[in-house]
Point group: C2
Chain length 468, copies 2
């Protein structure tokens, strides 16, 4: 048995029926040429046939009178790989629609605490012959960025490589640890000096750790109108209590197409991504007759390294700071909207640059511990969160990657909607594409998949405005 660190415990304790606290990813693969009818079964068997499972994938939370009522990690002595590594198929006709329906259902089901907190499902039956993998892992074990990196690390840029490791094999975990020391270990937060994080977050040894310093920073921000946080987010249909029902939508766009818009307008890729989201959300809210007069605010996690090098995008590292971006959803013209977003991001980044490292790290907990934020704000008398949704852009590899010769052709993150924040948009770049994963409460955000159409329309609108 091992103690659970306070931020992991916070994610575990924040979980309830309406808010499962796991992150997920949907990956699409193209079978290698000449793959036989047993290719997928072989893939499943190879991922199951792991001589030793890494400790991260064997431990589960446990609480009893013997542990003094405290949550601890315990090794699963009855570990059963068949429970965690699954083989499924899509109902006919096997379109992306059926795939996203299945992913929504898999993403809404809570992980069983009496077993290690992860599952992976290899899915066949796509009409185009591709193979999908949906994987989920509790945020108490790993944050979303680290989870996606973990999956990437098992892949190879060599299409001819075979005998690839499963992400949960102990051998693979050892090889990663023996390799580059800078690689993320189990969780993103642990890349930061532990003492700094703990003291900045005001985390004590008590379970459900109270990031009081974070709240102080945030409270000061909201009350004193410092520029990073001096924003008023209108209440929208996204900012309600949520249920445990989930919908997941995913699609991708060529990065070149988005970069061309940025180049023509003097804005960054990240600005264009935000403008796409803003345009899509505006259309969606108009459709639902629910567009507020004031612009929506997005919390945009930003990498520390990006700030250090003055980069205009979020690329360069795990997100450990964040900017509040005005999405200009009240502006009808796509070009003007993009310009307004660009200005808002520039403001925010300047404010970020003037913060102390401890403040920035404290703010990072907004991204790292989203679930505990609203109740904490409520306790401080702040009834509204200062933003409407989180839009993350997580950098990924630009070369094609392969798993035993199967080419990864899409990689879409699934995130965690929380009470008051029913929609989450996370993008990741991969091999010339920007892959969007939209995760929402199915009840609070009906017809979530419509946002995919609106995203494409928004790109077209921006292209027209930019004259490209």
């Amino acid at each position: 048995m091992a103690a659970i660190d306070p931020s992991s415990a916070a994610f575990l304790l924040a979980e309830n029926r309406s808010m499962p606290m796991h992150v997920g990813a949907l990956q699409l693969y193209e079978k290698p040429e000449g793959a036989g009818p047993d290719f997928v079964r072989g893939m499943v068997e190879q991922m199951r046939d792991v001589p030793e499972i890494a400790p991260l994938f064997r431990k589960h939370p446990f609480r009893s009178p013997r542990t003094g009522g405290a949550l601890v990690w315990r090794d699963d002595t009855q570990f059963d790989i068949e429970h965690h590594m699954r083989h499924a198929a899509l109902p006919a006709p096997g379109r992306i629609r059926e795939l996203l329906e299945l992913c929504g259902r898999l993403h809404q089901t809570r992980l069983d605490w009496s077993r290690p907190l992860w599952e992976a499902t290899i899915i066949e039956g796509l009409e185009d012959g591709r193979v999908a993998m949906y994987a989920k892992m509790h945020h108490g074990l790993v944050d979303g960025i680290s989870a996606m990196r973990l999956l990437q690390k098992t892949l190879s840029t060599d299409p001819d490589q075979r005998d690839m490791p499963a992400p949960w094999s102990a051998e693979f975990a050892r090889s990663r640890r023996g390799g580059k020391a800078v690689e993320a270990p189990d969780r993103g937060l642990s890349e930061l000096p532990g003492e700094v994080v703990r003291s900045a977050l005001g985390i004590t040894a008590e379970a459900a750790g109270m990031p009081s310093a974070l709240v102080r920073t945030l409270t000061r921000g909201v009350r004193n109108q410092t520029s990073t946080l001096s924003l008023h987010a209108p209440r929208t249909m996204f900012n309600q209590e949520i249920t445990g029902a989930r919908r997941f939508a995913a699609d991708d766009w060529p990065i070149e197409r988005l970069k061309a818009i940025g180049k023509a307008t003097g804005t960054s890729l990240n600005d264009v991504v935000l403008a796409m989201c803003a345009g899509a959300i505006r259309e969606y809210l108009i459709e639902h007759d629910a567009l507020p007069e004031e612009p929506l605010i997005a919390m945009v996690p930003i990498g520390l390294k990006a700030r250090d090098v003055g980069s205009a995008s979020a690329e360069g590292g795990n997100a450990v700071g964040s900017v509040m971006a005005r999405l200009a959803t009240n502006v009808a013209d796509p070009g003007e909207r993009l310009a307004a977003i660009h200005a808002s991001m520039a403001d925010g980044k300047q404010a970020l640059a003037s913060m102390t490292p401890a403040q920035i790290i404290a703010m990072s907990a907004i991204g790292q511990v989203p679930a505990v934020l609203p109740p904490l704000l409520k306790m401080q008398g702040i009834v509204k969160a200062p933003y409407n949704l989180i839009i993350s852009n997580v950098p990924g590899p630009q070369q094609p990657h392969y798993w035993n010769g199967a080419k990864l052709v899409g990689n879409y993150p699934a995130s965690i909607p929380i009470n008051g924040m029913a929609l989450n948009i996370t993008c990741t770049s991969y091999d010339g594409m920007l892959c969007f994963g939209l995760t929402g409460c199915r009840r609070t955000v009906p017809q979530l998949q419509r946002l995919l159409t609106h995203l494409e329309d928004a790109v077209v609108g921006l292209e027209e405005a930019a004259g490209v």
Copy 2:
């Protein structure tokens, strides 16, 4: 919020990672002639599109300081039919093997207590074009026999009937209640006068109700060697601690074939079923070099009505008594084995006939509350259960039944392995077939599916012995 009756609470509280406490059923359907490619989707949609869900399917267990720590039923105010009613498909090649693998996985997953305790999955992709439904429901809501009857009641003997109700629709529940008063309501036990059951089981209002009278009866039985219970069960590989991994196997045999054996040997259908199981278990244990010298003992639930009318089979009502049957697994000759089983059952039934109704009802709890039995016995200093496994034979309808024109062609029960009782065999009759469902712990009972082959071999052996 409503109080949970003690026997339901016992099932809920007995549940843990190694012992999920739900019963299940696998049904196979043939599509009606002329069914289009959207037939299965339509089936799913019709089962989802239920204007009002019956209370039994809306309630979930809940415990908090506000309930004084007691378990209560609470209506799920966020009820989400898409969580409970699922649409899945089999991986290629879609054989029965893939179907049973999926059912094993679905059967081993615990139901989430924060939601109502049932799930149903319609499964397409069988290579022969048939459609399957696997449904599971917590034993705290309904016992296995009542669950199967509930599913049956939604079906029709008329192949042309359409607009069939979903088992969970409130309309259907009302129509059942308004119909024949003798129909089983939510649970089997409630068919018996409540006072009799409660006093016979010694159940108090405390959660986890202690069936002390049952234990007294059983202890007396074991110690005083009264004939119903005066049996010594050898320890076998089935009688170990189990894990949460499950395997499910299912197949059916023509009843005429089994009855011909009974007719030629002067034994009952139930005797032949037990002899089939005995023969299969003997072969399985020989294969694993684990056949004990002494014969295995099966606990065979028996219907009260069957006893009343002196019937030789278990047909005629819910099982509320039980007989301990010597399976004669030490006898190599199939004919001699059948004769020994017949004699053992006759002994047992005679003993049953001499018991008081209260004793019989108390014994029923062995079947109704299997999970609480071993710990109770242990508390009484009885370290071994007096039997090795439970073999139930639940009567079902003999005419073909249909769901919206789709013909039910197979109906297989999935039951609850418990610690010390790793294998369960339940059969049910349907339309001229005897359908067997074998549920076991995948670790403790490896290669469970081999038992299907052994069952067929046992039938052939009995046929040869009987000269039919």
